[in-house]
C-alpha cells in the first residue's frame, strides 16, 4: 500500500514533467520545421554495399532478398538543384602518380580496409538526422564505429581551438531550402573517396542537403588547393526514408590483411 502510494506520488510528479518535455520537444521540432524544411528522419544507406542478394530456401519455399543500391548509383543529374559533377577529382599533375600508386595497392594502403574511419565525405549522407532549432545532428553507421556530428546552425563560427578530426569541425546554414554544411579541420589520414584520394589538413568539405519530395538529396564538394587543381563536386546521391532503425555496429576486427596474396581490389565507395 505504501509502495503503491509512493508510485502514485512519483507518477503525479513525473507525468507532467514528461508531458512538458515531450511538448517542448515537439514544439522545437515544429519550430524547426516551420522555419526550414525538416530533414529529420532515418535514411537509407547511400554507400557501396555488398552487391549480393540472399537466397533463402525454407521447406522448399525460395525467397530472394535484394539490396537496394539505388541511393548510391541512381542518376541524379536531372534533379533540380544538383550541381554539375565529375566522377573523379583533378589532382595536381605531380601528385597523380601517387594517387595511382595508392589505387594500385588499395588493398594494402586504404585505411578503411583496416577498420579506419572513412571521414567526410567518404562516409556519405547521414543515416539519421535530428534537426533542432539551433543545431542539427547527423548520425552514421560504419564498420569502424558509429560517428555523429553536431552541426551548429545558430550562426556561430568554426571553433578556433578544435582538434583536427576525421569528421572535421562543422557549421551549418540554410540557403533557401538547402542545408549547407561547411566542414574543415581534418586529420590527414583519411581518403575523401575511393581510388587513393588522399588530402591534406587544408581540406574543406561543403555538403548540401535538401528534400526532393520525400527523399533527401546529398551532394558534397571537396576543396584542397594543396593537392587538387580545382574543387571536386561529387555526383549527388538521393537517399530515401527508411524504417530500418540504427543499430550499434559490432566491433571491427580486420584479419585478412596478412592473407593477401596479390593486389586485387574492388570498387569501394
Amino acid at each position: 500500500m505504501t509502495h503503491g502510494c509512493l508510485r502514485l506520488f512519483a507518477c503525479a510528479i513525473l507525468i507532467p514533467g514528461v508531458a512538458l518535455a515531450q511538448q517542448a520537444s515537439g514544439t522545437t521540432a515544429r519550430r524547426a520545421a516551420a522555419t526550414h524544411p525538416d530533414l529529420s528522419g532515418v535514411w537509407t544507406y547511400a554507400i557501396d554495399r555488398a552487391p549480393s542478394a540472399l537466397k533463402k530456401d525454407v521447406d522448399g519455399v525460395v525467397t530472394i532478398v535484394k539490396i537496394d543500391q539505388s541511393a548510391r548509383y541512381a542518376d541524379t543529374t536531372s534533379v533540380p538543384g544538383v550541381r554539375p559533377s565529375t566522377p573523379k577529382p583533378s589532382y595536381k599533375p605531380e601528385l597523380r602518380a601517387k594517387v595511382q600508386d595508392l589505387f594500385d595497392h588499395q588493398s594494402k594502403t586504404d585505411p578503411v580496409f583496416y577498420c579506419g574511419r572513412p571521414g567526410v565525405p567518404r562516409i556519405g549522407p547521414p543515416r539519421k538526422i535530428v534537426q533542432l532549432s539551433k543545431e542539427t545532428i547527423f548520425f552514421y553507421e560504419d564498420i569502424s564505429g558509429d560517428p555523429y556530428r553536431i552541426i551548429p546552425t545558430d550562426g556561430r563560427p568554426h571553433r578556433d581551438r578544435a582538434n583536427p578530426s576525421h569528421y572535421g569541425d562543422s557549421v551549418g546554414r540554410w540557403e533557401g531550402d538547402v542545408f549547407v554544411v561547411d566542414a574543415r579541420n581534418f586529420v590527414e589520414d583519411t581518403w575523401f573517396g575511393e581510388d587513393g584520394y588522399f588530402h591534406t589538413d587544408a581540406m574543406r568539405v561543403v555538403e548540401r542537403l535538401w528534400k526532393v519530395g520525400d527523399d533527401l538529396l546529398w551532394q558534397a564538394t571537396v576543396e584542397d588547393p594543396a593537392v587538387l587543381t580545382e574543387p571536386w563536386t561529387m555526383p549527388a546521391r538521393l537517399t530515401k526514408p527508411s524504417t530500418d532503425s540504427l543499430e550499434e555496429s559490432p566491433k571491427c576486427v580486420e584479419t585478412d590483411g596478412g592473407k593477401l596474396l596479390n593486389d586485387d581490389h574492388h570498387l569501394q565507395r
Partner: protein
C-alpha cells in the same frame, strides 16, 4: 576428409558479390574464385563482427582428427538488411551444418561462405543482387 573441393564456372563468382558494407579486401586476393569447398561439421562459434561475420566449424578430418574450419562472410549490416541476425545462426551452435565456400588460396582451413545449410535444412545463399 569430410570436405570436398570442386571447380565452378568463373561467371558464378564474377557475379557473386562479396564486398563488404564499406570496404574490405578483394576476395580474389585471398580466395580461389574458381573453386568451391563443401564442408560438413559442427558449428562451434559465431563472431558477429565487422568487417565480416565469422563462423567456426569442427569437421572430421583425415585419420579421425578434428579440423577447425573458419568461414567469413558479408558484414553484419548486410545480414541485417536481408533480415538475418546472429540469432538465426546461433540456434545452430553445437549442431551439424554444411557450408559451401570459396577456399583460401593458401590452402588453410579458411573460406568465404556463400551457402550454409542449417540443421532444419534451411539454406541461406549469397547470389547475384
Amino acid at each position: 576428409m569430410r570436405h570436398t573441393v570442386f571447380p565452378v564456372g568463373s561467371l558464378v563468382f564474377t557475379l557473386l558479390g562479396v564486398a563488404s558494407l564499406h570496404a574490405n579486401n578483394s576476395p580474389s586476393a585471398i580466395f580461389d574464385m574458381q573453386k568451391r569447398v563443401a564442408v560438413t561439421g559442427t558449428l562451434s562459434k559465431i563472431d558477429w563482427i565487422n568487417p565480416h561475420i565469422v563462423l567456426t566449424m569442427d569437421a572430421k578430418g583425415e585419420g579421425g582428427k578434428v579440423d577447425h574450419w573458419t568461414f567469413e562472410s558479408n558484414p553484419p549490416s548486410w545480414y541485417r538488411s536481408v533480415g538475418l541476425a546472429r540469432a538465426d545462426f546461433a540456434k545452430a551452435l553445437g549442431q551439424t551444418i554444411s557450408v559451401e565456400a570459396l577456399p583460401a588460396r593458401d590452402g588453410s582451413l579458411f573460406g568465404y561462405m556463400r551457402k550454409i545449410t542449417l540443421p532444419d535444412r534451411t539454406t541461406l545463399e549469397l547470389v547475384t543482387n
